[in-house]
Symmetry: C2
């Protein structure tokens, strides 16, 4: 076998193995972390249901309303949980927010099309919207990296060595980004949404990484009052945050690919494959 | 103002305008499509709740169970809707599936961590898992584009012109991809999940684009029997499909960026900005 071909196969094999090991380890940790808490919640829910089914013929309307409220809190947002049928989840502000979750591929899913027409339109809307969003984020990303370059130029003029400059601009990119796009917003969400700090970090990261589970969404708690422009502020945070995290993932991807190459090279020299 | 600087600003302005117009148009269409259907659903739900609250003191346990079932169908999966507390949503198969939805950034959200530990782990798991997944998909994407290159080489040897070859390989990439990753899987889901064909296309695209609303998920309907290896087959489809759609989005991004450049150039010549 030719060395180049062999090296390529080794690299692919290593990548596949690493990828699956990563997923397997992750699955095991999630299971270990979540299983017990979930079981307790299930037992409590089953007991509540049991108690309810035994006594529901004696309940008052107020108690029934309370039960429905708790049920909804444990589940998600069924369409019928707000008694006002005049309010629409598809008002323009929500529709716009939804369109944003489509093109950014965050896709929280707290709102999603249910009609066949809406679903098919959504496919075509995303087909061209996602590349458009990528072009847009490229531009924002360039603006952000320009800041880093300006810092580099400033340090170069101060007579600093190139290697040190590279390290310092990278540190600046990481530290400022983590502060501005993760830590400060989490503090902000702690105040506006009443989440814990770790929930804030979790929400911020799940949003900016475009995973978007939809378990936490901003501005959606019925018992809280939000200031006007709250959503606009969040949208700006998301736009710049998405561009920053794309740069971060780019960086990490390069690091991973370089590491892989080094490992393959080392393995080669040991085994003379 | 220097021409280059002016051109750059014009380009950015055009992009920002285009992006927001795209989102605004999308929002308007979604609203038009979804609002009426949602209102009808809300009215029906409100009537059901009304009727229930008026008569619940006369209901039998069976009727109550039926009500709960419908409520759950309209909402999502609350933890307590399965009476067996032994079964866990976090069994290994589900945990593995969840880990996959994290690193791919699909993030359906039908399963998500609720403990502080699980949430914080999820952040770090995604931080390195997403770049790893990107590296992995790069490799799969290279394999797929190799197929196109082989076709190109074959046509070149047949003495075809370069421009025609480029067009044909592109057509092959698009047609085969749409068939293999969207049309055929939708047909398959129509049979296995009982969805309509348009629902199948919608699910396939929402998954592969990594939007992942979580409104449709495979293998989760309690009243259907799935063959073993169903999920494995779906996982393979997702892996190759993600790589294919990444190539497709790359292509569309390039087309958009080129179009933008041409528009800016034309505007320049008209306005002599
Ligand atoms: K999602
Ligand atoms: K997503």
């Amino acid at each position: 076998m030719q060395p180049a071909m062999c090296s390529g196969k080794l690299q692919t094999g290593l990548l596949v193995a690493g990828y699956f090991v990563y997923l397997l380890v992750g699955a095991a940790v999630f299971q270990a972390l979540e299983r017990t808490a979930e079981k307790q919640e299930k037992i409590a829910a089953a007991q509540m249901k049991e108690a309810f089914l035994q006594s529901f013929t004696h309940l008052t309307v107020a108690e029934m309303e309370q039960f429905m409220k708790v049920t909804i809190q444990n589940g998600v947002y069924p369409v019928g949980n707000e008694s006002q049928t005049e309010d629409s989840n598809w008002d323009f502000s929500n529709s716009f927010f939804f369109a944003g979750t489509v093109v950014s591929t965050i896709g929280y899913g707290t709102l999603h099309p249910k009609t066949a027409g809406g679903q098919i339109f959504c496919v075509f809307f995303a087909l061209f919207g996602i590349p458009l969003n990528i072009v847009f984020l490229h531009r924002v990303g360039k603006m952000l990296s320009l800041l880093c370059k300006k810092l580099g130029k400033f340090l170069y003029e101060k007579g600093m060595r190139k290697k040190k400059i590279k390290f310092l601009t990278l540190l600046f990119f990481l530290a400022t980004g983590i502060l501005v796009f993760l830590c400060l917003p989490s503090l902000f969400f702690q105040i506006t949404e009443g989440w814990s700090y770790s929930e804030g970090i979790y929400f911020a990261f799940i949003t900016l990484s475009t995973i978007g589970f939809g378990d936490y969404v901003v501005g959606k708690q019925p018992d809280r009052i939000y200031f006007s422009y709250y959503r606009t502020l969040v949208a700006i945070w998301i736009l710049f945050g998405l561009a920053w995290i794309a740069l971060l993932f780019n960086l990490l991807t390069t690091v991973l690919e370089d590491t892989e190459k080094i490992i393959v090279k080392d393995l080669h020299q040991i085994g003379k494959c």
